[in-house]
C-alpha cells in the first residue's frame, strides 16, 4: 500500500535535501521552535504498518540523512515520541492508516521542545523535570535486613504499576498546555513519577515531597486540559496522578498556596450561592491581603470591563440553594 509521509526536517548545519520546502509547524501556541523544511516521501508498506516502519524505510532506502530515534519498535523503550499530525505519539504505535489525513501523514519534532535535528528533539527539559521530583525511594526506617523485603500489600504495589508503566517517552510533556506557556511547570511525567514515590508505602518522605510538589510549578499548575491522558501511549494518565497528589497534599495540610485557595474559593462559592462568584475568585486565589498580586491582575480586570464581561457586582444565590448545601453536608469533608 502506498503512503505519503511529510517529514519536518531541521539541520543546524543548514544542509537540506533539494525537495525539502520551507514551512511552519502545525498551528500551535508554540513559537520558540526554529523554522523547518518539509519533505514528502512515498513509501510502499503493508496496510497495518506503523509510522515508524515508514520512517525506517525512508532512512534505510531513500534518505540516509533522516535523523530519528528508535530502538525497540514495540512501545517499550520510549524513543520515538514525535509529533504526528500535530500531536505527540509514539511512531511505533501509530498506524499509518489511522493517521492519514488529506492523503498524507505529517511527522515532525514537537515544537514545544528544543530541536537537535529532524525528528530528534532535545530531551533535556524532560529529564531535568524528572530529576527535580527526586524520583527515588527515601527508605522508611528501619530498612529490613538484606535478606528480607518490606512487608506491604500487593494492592499497594499494584496501585503504582500504572505509574511504573511510564516509558519516559515525553509524549505527555510535548503536548502539555501548561508547559507550553510555563517552562518551569514540572509537567505530567515528572508529577506522575512524584506520585509513584509519594504513594509508595515504603517511602519515608511523603510529607516533604508533598510540600515540595505544592510549590509554584508543581501540582497546582496543571490546567486539566487532559492532553497528557490522551497522548500517553501506556495509560499512565498523568493528570489522574496529579489529582491524587493534590488530594494527598491538602489532606496533609499543605493548603497555603494559590492552587488550594483557588479550589477552595470555587467550592465555597458553589456551596454558598450555587454558582461561581468570579468577582471574588481572583482575590481569594492570590490571597485577600496579597495586594501586590491583586494589583497585577488589574489589567485583566480592565480588559474584562472593556469587553463587557465583568461579572455582576452583586452576586446572588440561585433558587434552591439549601439543596446544594445539603449535598455538601452529605458529601462531608472540608466544606460541609
Amino acid at each position: 500500500m502506498q503512503f505519503t509521509i511529510e517529514v519536518g526536517r531541521f539541520n543546524p548545519e543548514g544542509t537540506y535535501p533539494e525537495n525539502a520546502v520551507p514551512g511552519a509547524p502545525f498551528p500551535a501556541p508554540w513559537d520558540r521552535s526554529p523554522a523547518r523544511r518539509y519533505q514528502t516521501f512515498m513509501v510502499d508498506l503493508p496496510e497495518h504498518a506503523v509510522v515508524l516502519d515508514a520512517l525506517i524505510a525512508i532512512r534505510e532506502y531513500q534518505d540516509q540523512s533522516l535523523a530519528v530515534r528508535c530502538a525497540c519498535r514495540s512501545a517499550i523503550c520510549g524513543s520515538c515520541a514525535m509529533w504526528i499530525n500535530g500531536h505527540a505519539n509514539l511512531a511505533c504505535k501509530s498506524r499509518l492508516s489511522a493517521f492519514t489525513q488529506d492523503g498524507k501523514t505529517r511527522v515532525e519534532s514537537p515544537p514545544s521542545m528544543p530541536i537537535i535535528r529532524d525528528l530528534v528533539c532535545d530531551m533535556k527539559p524532560f529529564w531535568d523535570k524528572h530529576l527535580a521530583v527526586k524520583p527515588w525511594l527515601q527508605n522508611k526506617q528501619p530498612v529490613p535486613p538484606p535478606n528480607e523485603e518490606y512487608r506491604v500489600s500487593n494492592a499497594s504495589m499494584e496501585e503504582l504499576i500504572q505509574e511504573v508503566s511510564c516509558i519516559s517517552c515525553s509524549a505527555c510533556l510535548m503536548d502539555c498546555e501548561s508547559f507550553a506557556v510555563n517552562p518551569d511547570f514540572l509537567g505530567p511525567q515528572a508529577l506522575a513519577q512524584a506520585f509513584r514515590y509519594a504513594g509508595d508505602p515504603r517511602d519515608a518522605e511523603t510529607k516533604e515531597r508533598l510540600a515540595e510538589y505544592s510549590k509554584p510549578g508543581g501540582i497546582w499548575d496543571c490546567t486539566h486540559c487532559y492532553e497528557c491522558v490522551t497522548q500517553c501511549p501506556k495509560g499512565v494518565a498523568p493528570l489522574e496522578q496529579i489529582l491524587k497528589l493534590r488530594r494527598m497534599a491538602v489532606d496533609a495540610g499543605f493548603t497555603n498556596n494559590a492552587g488550594t485557595r483557588h479550589a477552595d474559593a470555587f467550592a465555597e462559592s458553589v456551596r454558598d450561592s450555587g454558582r461561581l462568584n468570579e468577582l471574588t475568585l481572583m482575590p481569594k486565589s492570590v490571597g485577600f491581603f496579597n495586594i501586590v498580586e491583586q494589583i497585577k491582575t488589574l489589567p485583566s480586570a480592565f480588559n474584562l470591563i472593556r469587553a463587557g464581561k465583568l461579572p455582576p457586582l452583586i452576586h446572588k444565590a440561585i433558587p434552591g440553594i439549601n439543596r446544594i448545601k445539603t449535598i455538601f453536608e452529605r458529601v462531608g469533608g472540608r466544606f460541609k
Partner: protein, 559 residues
C-alpha cells in the same frame, strides 16, 4: 577533547548501570558511556521476571541444578553457584531500592512459574519486570550522581601497555570524537540481535561490546550458542513473554493439539527454551503449523489474569496483529532472542585483558552455557554487574592513570573521515545488514549443518569485502546515524564471523546449538568451551577451556 575517570562503563542497561552503581559505592569516579539514553536500553524489554531461590521451600542448589541442566551442562558450575547463592540478596536489594514486585497474601514477594525450573521462583512486576528494574536503577544512578555520557557512541577501546585504559567515543549531538581515559573499563553493552532477521531484539542491539573487546584481544567464548525464543509474534517477531506459559498458556498446532506432550511430557509448555523452540520448528516442518507459526492460547486464563499480569503482551498482540488474546489464540514462532556466549570473563567479571571487565548479555561467565533459562538473564545482569563494578573499582585504586591515547584518537578521527569521504557505490549498509541477518537466520539459526556453515563463512567474508566499500549516506556532523549505523554493521560482521566459526567447530548438538549432521550431545569430546581470539587480520586463534564441574555430572536431559 580528553577526559579522565577511574572507571568507564560502556552501556547503560541493567548490567552497565549496576556495575556503575557498585563502582561508585566503592569510591571510584565512574562515568557511563551509552549510545542511547539509559532508559532506552534493551533491558526494559525483559518481560517475565527474575529468578531466585528465596522461598523456604526452595534452595539455591535446586536453582543451580535447573540452570546447569538448562545449559545442557555447558555452564561453569562455580559461576552458577555464585549467581544462585547471591540471587536472593540482589533481588531483595532491588526491592529496597523501590521495585514494586508482585506480593503474595502475606505481603512477601510472590512468584510465578517459568520454563525449565523445578519450582516457581520467578519474581516479577506484571510483564514489565525489566522496565521496572531499569527505571529504578536509573533513578539510583541519578541519586548517586554518576556521570552519564548520553548518546555517545564508542568506536574503539584504548589500550596502553597491554591493558584497557578507556575508549574513544563519538558525541552524536556535536559529531565530535572524544578520548575518555580510565584505569578500568566495564563492557555492559548488551546483545547482538540485529545480526538475525527476525529477532526480538531492539534496533540498538548491534554487538558493539563483543566486537570492541574482540578487536583488542579479548577472547569470545561459546559464541555458537544463540537462543531462539519459542514465542515471538508472527510477522514483527516481538517477544511474547514466557510468563504467558508460566501463567498456564498452551501451545497448539493446527490440529488444536498440545504438541509439547510429545517432546516434554513432564514440563509440557514449560520445558527449556531450546527444547520448546525445536519442538515448534518440528511441528511446523511436518505440516502441523499455521502459516509457519504455532498458536499461543491464553483464553482459558481469563481476562483477569491476562489484563492484570500480562497487560503488555496483550496490548502488543492487539497493536501489531489486531488479535485480542482474551478471545483468540496468537500465532507465534521461534525467533532469535539471546546470545549465551560473549566476552569471556571469570566469576568476578574480569576478562583476560587487564583492566577490561564485562557483564550482562555481552559477557560469558558462563552461567547460561548452551541454553539460558527464562528469567535468568535479568539475574545475570544484576549479580555480575555488581561483581564487576566492585572488582573494577578495586583494580582502579591500584592502577596509575593513563597518559596516552592521543594517537588512537587521531587514528579514529582519520578512520571516520575516510568512512565519510567514500564515494557512493549504489550499495547501502541497510541492504547489506538485511542480507547478512537473513543469511544468519537461514544458515546459522535453529538448525545448522556443515555445508550451510561453510557457505555462511564464505558469504560473510564476501560481505566484509563489500562493507569496506559502502559509502555513508549522510556527510553531516550532527546526529549522523548513517555513520553510526555503518560502524554498527562492522560490529555485527565481527560477531557473525565468530558465531559461524564456533558453530563449525562444535561437531555435536548441545543446548541451542543443533547440528543436523551431529544430532547427539557428545560429552566425551565437547564438554568444553570454544574460545576465539583475534590477532589482527589473521584467522582468529582457537582455544578450548574445560567446563567447570563442581557437583553436577552431565546426565541425559529430558523435561
Amino acid at each position: 577533547m580528553i577526559t579522565d575517570h577511574d572507571v568507564i562503563v560502556l552501556g547503560a542497561g541493567l548490567a552497565g548501570m549496576r556495575a556503575a552503581l557498585e563502582a561508585a559505592r566503592a569510591g571510584a569516579d565512574v562515568a557511563i558511556v551509552t549510545k542511547v539514553h539509559p532508559i532506552r536500553s534493551h533491558s526494559s524489554a525483559a518481560q517475565g521476571g527474575i529468578n531466585a531461590a528465596i522461598a523456604e521451600t526452595d534452595s539455591w542448589e535446586s536453582h543451580a541444578f535447573d540452570t546447569v541442566k538448562g545449559s545442557d551442562y555447558l555452564a561453569d558450575q562455580d559461576a552458577v553457584e555464585a549467581m544462585t547463592q547471591e540471587a536472593p540478596r540482589d533481588i531483595i536489594e532491588f526491592e529496597h531500592m523501590g521495585v514494586i514486585f508482585f506480593r503474595g497474601p502475606d505481603g512477601k514477594l510472590g512468584t510465578r512459574a517459568f520454563g525449565g525450573a523445578s519450582q516457581a521462583r520467578t519474581y516479577f512486576v506484571g510483564d514489565i519486570t525489566g522496565q521496572a528494574l531499569l527505571v529504578t536503577l536509573y533513578d539510583q544512578i541519578l541519586k548517586a550522581g554518576v556521570k552519564v555520557y548520553e548518546e555517545w557512541f564508542a568506536t574503539a577501546l584504548h589500550m596502553e601497555g597491554g591493558a584497557c585504559r578507556g575508549l574513544v567515543a563519538l558525541e552524536m549531538v556535536t559529531g565530535e570524537l572524544h578520548l575518555l581515559r580510565s584505569k578500568a573499563v566495564i563492557v555492559g553493552a548488551g546483545g547482538l540481535g540485529r545480526l538475525y532477521e527476525p529477532s526480538t531484539n531492539a534496533l540498538i542491539c548491534t554487538g558493539d561490546g563483543y566486537a570492541l573487546a574482540y578487536r583488542v584481544g579479548a577472547p569470545l567464548m561459546d559464541m555458537e550458542m544463540v537462543q531462539y525464543h519459542p514465542t515471538t509474534l508472527a510477522g514483527s517477531g516481538f517477544l511474547m513473554t514466557e510468563a504467558a506459559r508460566g501463567e498456564g498458556a498452551y501451545l497448539l498446532n493446527s490440529l488444536n493439539e498440545r504438541f509439547m506432550k510429545r517432546y516434554a511430557p513432564n514440563k509440557m509448555e514449560l520445558a527449556a527454551r531450546d527444547v520448546t523452540s525445536r519442538a515448534e520448528a518440528t511441528e511446523i516442518a511436518e505440516g502441523r503449523g499455521i502459516d509457519g507459526n504455532v498458536l499461543l492460547d491464553l483464553r482459558h486464563l481469563g481476562p483477569d489474569v491476562i489484563l492484570k499480569k500480562l497487560p503488555q503482551i496483550h496490548e502488543m498482540a492487539l497493536d501489531y496483529l489486531g488479535i485480542d488474546m482474551v478471545k483468540d489464540p496468537v500465532p507465534v514462532r521461534p525467533g532469535m532472542h539471546y546470545q549465551m556466549g560473549g566476552i569471556k570473563t571469570d566469576v568476578e567479571g574480569a576478562t583476560p585483558v587487564p583492566g577490561l571487565y564485562a557483564a550482562g548479555e555481552v559477557a560469558c561467565v558462563s552461567v547460561h552455557g548452551g541454553n539460558r533459562l527464562g528469567a535468568n538473564s535479568l539475574l545475570d545482569t544484576i549479580v555480575f554487574g555488581r561483581r564487576s563494578g566492585k572488582v573494577a573499582a578495586d583494580y582502579a585504586k591500584s592502577t596509575p592513570a593513563s597518559t596516552g591515547g592521543e594517537a588512537l584518537l587521531r587514528s579514529e578521527q582519520e578512520r571516520l573521515r575516510e568512512l565519510l569521504s567514500r564515494p557512493y557505490t549504489g550499495e547501502t549498509n541497510a541492504g547489506l545488514r538485511l542480507e547478512l541477518a537473513t543469511m544468519m537466520d537461514e544458515l546459522v539459526g535453529l538448525y545448522r549443518v556443515e555445508a550451510g556453515l561453510l557457505e555462511a563463512l564464505d558469504k560473510i567474508k564476501g560481505f566484509r569485502k563489500r562493507y569496506e566499500t559502502i559509502a555513508v549516506g549522510d556527510k553531516g556532523r550532527v546526529f549522523n546515524q548513517a555513520l553510526t549505523f555503518s560502524l554498527e554493521l562492522g560490529y555485527l560482521l565481527d560477531c557473525g564471523e565468530t558465531i559461524i566459526r564456533s558453530a563449525l567447530i562444535r561437531t555435536e548438538s548441545r543446548g541451542a546449538h543443533t547440528r543436523s549432521d551431529f544430532p547427539e550431545r557428545n560429552d566425551k569430546e565437547w564438554l568444553k568451551h570454544i574460545l576465539l581470539t583475534r590477532h589482527g587480520e589473521a584467522e582468529p586463534e582457537l582455544s578450548y577451556l574445560p567446563v567447570t564441574i563442581t557437583r553436577w555430572q552431565p546426565e541425559v536431559r529430558s523435561y
